[in-house]
């Protein structure tokens, strides 16, 4: 037995979730949740549709960051002129999720709440130090995306909380280059074997800031800031690139599945980190 309710405000939505913490689930686009219901993985008694909360949809450039409403679809993010200008690798990552039918329905907030280890946007958002605005019945909090996703399809969201927006810091004065590489090892429509998100801020030809995040290899996006420190204050040259790529390949503890063994994932992680860094390093 599953019932469908469609609250008109965020408050109502949180109340509905709070009323049945085990049995109520928030429904945004539904591509993940309905899929899990069909597969028998979840059996919610109440679906709290966020469909009426249209004010949670939209993209704005604010001072120092982009605000993306949680109900914004992945396709809307992918084609947004604001995102394409200020955060092109996020637009790219969103444009690569699934297929166009998924992207037309799936929302950015839903994507983060699902915490699919193989999904593309989380890695990019972690690398950009993006944060989520999380609304509960009585309080609002700001959670870095890296802390939101805690494990396999698990987040730090309480049962009565919903994400209302994602804030993506923008480059400001820095010369920012970013790249997202999605590697599929089987058919072109496969889930990724490895996803690599790279973001570098350059100042007078040397690296002022660098983040490298690897997705689809483990439960959560893999980011090791200590491994990129050799690059700070220096040009991003071939040797530095190789060192970072090699260090990451050694540091990750990748899963094994039909898309690749742990050994294979290490190999291609190194390859794609290197390719992504080479891409951002080139003029």
């Amino acid at each position: 037995m599953t019932r469908f309710v469609e609250p008109l405000t965020i408050e109502e939505a949180c109340s509905a979730l709070a009323a049945d913490p085990w049995g109520a689930k928030a429904l945004a686009g539904g591509t993940a949740l309905v899929l899990m219901m069909r597969q028998g993985l979840v059996n919610p008694k109440t679906l709290v549709s966020l469909g009426a909360l249209q004010h949670l949809r939209g993209i704005e450039a604010e001072d120092g960051f982009i605000r993306i409403g949680a109900r914004t679809t992945l396709n809307e993010v992918a084609v947004s002129p604001i995102v394409s200008a200020l955060s092109p690798s996020l637009a790219a990552a969103c444009s690569l999720v699934g297929n166009i039918r998924i992207r037309n329905l799936a929302t950015l907030g839903g994507n983060l709440a699902e915490a699919d280890y193989a999904s593309d946007p989380p890695s990019v958002l972690v690398g950009m130090d993006a944060t989520c605005i999380v609304q509960g019945p009585s309080a609002q909090r700001i959670v870095p995306v890296g802390e939101l996703i805690t494990g396999f399809y698990s987040t730090s969201l309480a049962p009565d909380e919903i994400i209302t927006a994602v804030l993506v810091p923008v480059a400001g004065d820095a010369h920012r280059r970013s790249s997202y590489k999605k590697y599929v090892s089987r058919s072109s429509e496969d889930r990724p074997c490895v996803g690599v998100a790279v973001m570098a801020d350059f100042n007078a030809g040397v690296v002022a800031h660098l983040s490298v995040v690897v997705g689809a290899v483990a439960e959560v996006p893999q980011r090791f800031d200590e491994l990129v420190t050799p690059a700070i204050g220096r040009p991003l040259d071939q040797q530095t690139v190789s060192e970072i790529a090699g260090a990451y390949a050694a540091a990750i503890d990748p899963m094994e599945d039909a898309r690749g063994s742990a050994w294979y994932r290490r190999q291609v992680t190194e390859v794609f980190i290197r390719r992504a860094l080479e891409e951002v390093a080139s003029p």
């Binding site: 037995m1 469908f4 219901m37 039918r101």
Partner: protein
């Protein structure tokens, strides 16, 4: 396939707008749109994979293609739904359908309505789409017979006709 306890889900009376016509239907809260549409007789909408991968359940929702196997009917009240049947106007095939017909873009045809709706949506929303753009757009519509080359020939013709000055109807 639904996961359920012994109790039936609540049923709502809905008025769906399908191909420009309002249809009344009683819909359980957890019923998928593909199921509702097939109950209403729109058998061009099919289910083959249950997980949104194959595209045989494609419908247009407010002009955008969506997997009706992953949409609950309750989610689309107030939306304009278009199925392949709806592209036919006054007994005449739409331009996209005609191109598919002309280029033999069908074999078993289980996937074809979904392909047609997707090409239609792409060309409508992308005025300067190239063949390559449409091909990317079709990446999530699977065909086991391997009719892709004929489909691409139809797309070639549509893009060429448009470049030559027509609009996609």
């Amino acid at each position: 396939m639904t996961v359920d306890d012994s109790q039936d889900s609540p049923v709502a009376h809905m008025r769906l707008s399908v191909n420009g016509v309002h249809r009344d239907i009683e819909v359980p809260d957890d019923e998928a749109l593909v199921t509702s549409l097939r109950k209403l007789g729109f058998t061009s909408v099919r289910a083959a994979c249950g997980i949104g991968m194959c595209g045989t359940c494609t419908v247009q929702v407010d002009g955008m293609v969506a997997s009706s196997c992953l949409l609950l009917t309750r989610q689309v009240s107030g939306c304009e739904l278009v199925t392949s049947e709806g592209l036919v106007e006054d007994g005449a095939l739409s331009e996209v359908q005609q191109a598919f017909l002309d280029h033999r873009a069908y074999q078993c045809s289980f996937c074809i309505p979904g392909m047609v709706l997707t090409v239609d949506a792409c060309l409508r929303s992308h005025p300067s789409a190239t063949v390559s753009d449409v091909r990317e757009y079709l990446s999530g519509n699977l065909c086991r017979c391997g009719t892709y080359p004929s489909i691409l020939e139809a797309v070639h013709a549509l893009v060429a006709a448009r470049t030559a000055g027509g609009d996609v109807r």
